[in-house]
Symmetry: C2
Subunit: 384 residues, 2 copies
């Protein structure tokens, strides 16, 4: 198959910021790309060769879209997986596979997958309904505190709650869920693994999610993580093992905890380009987006090491502002060393909405980290 | 003016590969962009917010297009400069200016500009018609050999001829031209200077155009140039002086000769992103395309130094092939270290047509140079 010709069509399910950054590379390679998204205002409407409006959770919408492309991928997990399976049966190359996505879409199934494959993860119990949790506590089968996670559609922290007392359960939806041991950790780490259909595999360096000491919110993604080499190697090996266990094709972002005694536990995985890899655009020899394309098109993988140190700061809508977005002080941050803003092109801001990100690169990672702090202090995503 | 809002419109005259690479960065910053081009198949048709078909040399087409934008730039010199001047008078910010472009569009005027501003360039004579050259030779005012250059529309080597005997003049068009001394040089160098409306100025490192020893064709652009620091500094200073003399806004690519005794002579300049700066996408802290945007939008300039060594190889159509393009062995070159192909998206190849370029980056420039040679040997731009 000659990808670099107009006879080839790549399909992407989802037209958000991740898709938009993939399109930079389909444009660079001149790969013909079709995008399906729920919204007329999707960032991918521009720069895709064909853009289709449709419900990503609807079988027919996904199936009909997928029928016309040669390789199909997704930039969001919430897509109709039955349609993906039907397309695979009819010969469309779906990367990552429907099987992987089905396993990952349900957090309980995902956790069981880790256990079945001897991949370290925090101990957990599965419940058909949240209401069953109280019985388990009453019968001494579950002890407080624990982390409650909805099995379905938990995305970006929604569907997760730390349960400290039985009353914390009251406002939770009565759905399939897991109760996970609360494991104290000293670092949240992530490793992106890339794998081709032929099984060629590479890992990016371990990155570190640095949290705000009080707000308990990720403030910076730091590449490489400022951790011991032995721990880094352990994290990369676990990520590699996860990718192989899934028989994965494309990117797999593996989020992990480094516990107090340097154990590594898998938190969750994402089978797509990931927030923890945005700094690869400026910092790495090959960006995660180009790498995903190389993998799903079965092209040779690029180098995953870094040219320079990289720190990433998310641009999220400030609290108290809803409406037409303004990036206050963007000129100020562009005056700082090694700063590149990425604006996703969403017209409306609202509190905590992901509106963009800023990458800071420097030959000295500590210097990049300092500049990142200045960036974080200066920039504000507000409304008109 | 808030560029990062949909009330702002950037206009680009020309929708070729340079425009396409600018659009990567307008997309990154979410800057609303309109493009005017002569061809329905222009690479910029995708990824621009508004695309207009029109003759770039036609006053009305350029004027009407320019009236609707806030800042107007160009990615090709062959545009109607009277329209640019009219737009400037009516308040449209045209960067680079019509005055600069008018000076540059005519090679005789350009050469006189260097002389007037004490910028070093090879000695030359100006002729209203090629036919007048013979008289000058006959009267002993001009000696053979020399370089004949058409004053108008000499682009990429067309309109240039080395005249060794009077008979060489016979097939040249009878147009305004210059006869330039043939100066033996040991290196062809280039420096990209960037300057904002406020006069902030930065230069990129000096790059070297390495020629094929027999074919006398540029094979590799090498960044940084493998030359003495004193010579590099001299070249950068001359380029800076040229940018200031033009009172330039945006990128100015200054092509220069390093003579046998290390004098630096300006060959010609291009007021736009330039082939000699393509490696900045992968090798530099800020790509030339992003830098051009920063400059014309009067944003702070980015770092111009390199993360790693970079070598660029042009992908031109192979001789003997015309038709639907195929990039033979592109998978092979993607298997080499630090290789990124850029495919411009032109459907038809023909001999020597610029179809793309390949950047090779490495922490060790010599290693990048070696890989570049392997790339050059492997890749072939042919037709179906």
């Amino acid at each position: 198959m000659n990808y670099f010709s107009s006879n080839f069509k790549l399909g992407i399910l989802g037209g958000g910021q991740l898709g938009k950054m993939i399109l930079n590379d389909t444009r660079k390679f001149d790969i013909y790309t079709c995008v399906l998204d729920n919204s007329e205002e999707a960032p991918c409407k521009l720069a895709s060769n064909e853009f289709y409006l449709g419900d990503l959770m609807d079988f027919d919408a996904v199936y009909n879209f997928g029928k016309q492309v040669d390789v199909l991928t997704f930039e969001i997990e919430n897509v109709n997986v039955d349609a993906l399976e039907a397309l695979e049966k009819e010969g469309v190359k779906v990367y990552p596979s429907s099987k992987t996505l089905r396993t990952i879409q349900n957090k309980a199934t995902q956790k069981i997958f880790y256990t079945d494959n001897n991949l370290p993860t925090a101990p957990f119990s599965r419940f058909a309904y949240t209401s069953k949790i109280k019985d388990a506590i009453n019968h001494g089968k579950l002890t407080l505190p624990f982390v409650w996670k909805s099995a379905q559609f938990g995305y970006d922290g929604t569907g997760v709650k730390i349960v400290k007392s039985v009353s914390d359960l009251e406002h939770l939806p009565n759905v399939e869920c897991i109760a996970e041991n609360l494991v104290p950790f000293k670092n949240e780490l992530a490793v992106i693994v890339v794998r081709t259909p032929s099984g060629d595999t590479k890992t990016y360096p371990v990155v570190e999610m640095e949290f705000h000491p009080e707000a308990n919110q990720v403030e910076y993604v730091i590449c490489p993580a400022r951790i011991d080499d032995v721990v880094a190697k352990k994290a990369q090996n676990i990520a590699l093992k996860a990718s192989k266990a899934f028989n994965h094709v494309g990117l797999l972002a593996v989020e992990m905890f480094q516990t107090e005694n340097d154990d590594i536990l898998i938190n969750e995985v994402a089978p797509r380009p990931h927030n923890s890899g945005h700094q690869t655009i400026e910092a790495s020899y090959t960006s995660q987006f180009e790498q995903h394309l190389r993998a799903i098109l079965d092209l040779p993988l690029g180098r995953t090491d870094s040219k320079v140190g990289g720190v990433m700061v998310n641009l999220v809508g400030a609290e108290g502002y809803t409406g037409n977005v303004i990036y206050k002080n963007i000129d100020k941050i562009m005056n700082m060393d090694g700063v590149t803003p990425h604006i996703y092109g969403k017209k409306q801001t609202r509190p905590f909405r992901k509106m963009g990100h800023v990458t800071i690169v420097n030959e000295d990672l500590n210097e990049a980290r300092k500049v990142a702090e200045a960036v974080k202090k200066a920039i504000k995503v507000i409304s008109e």
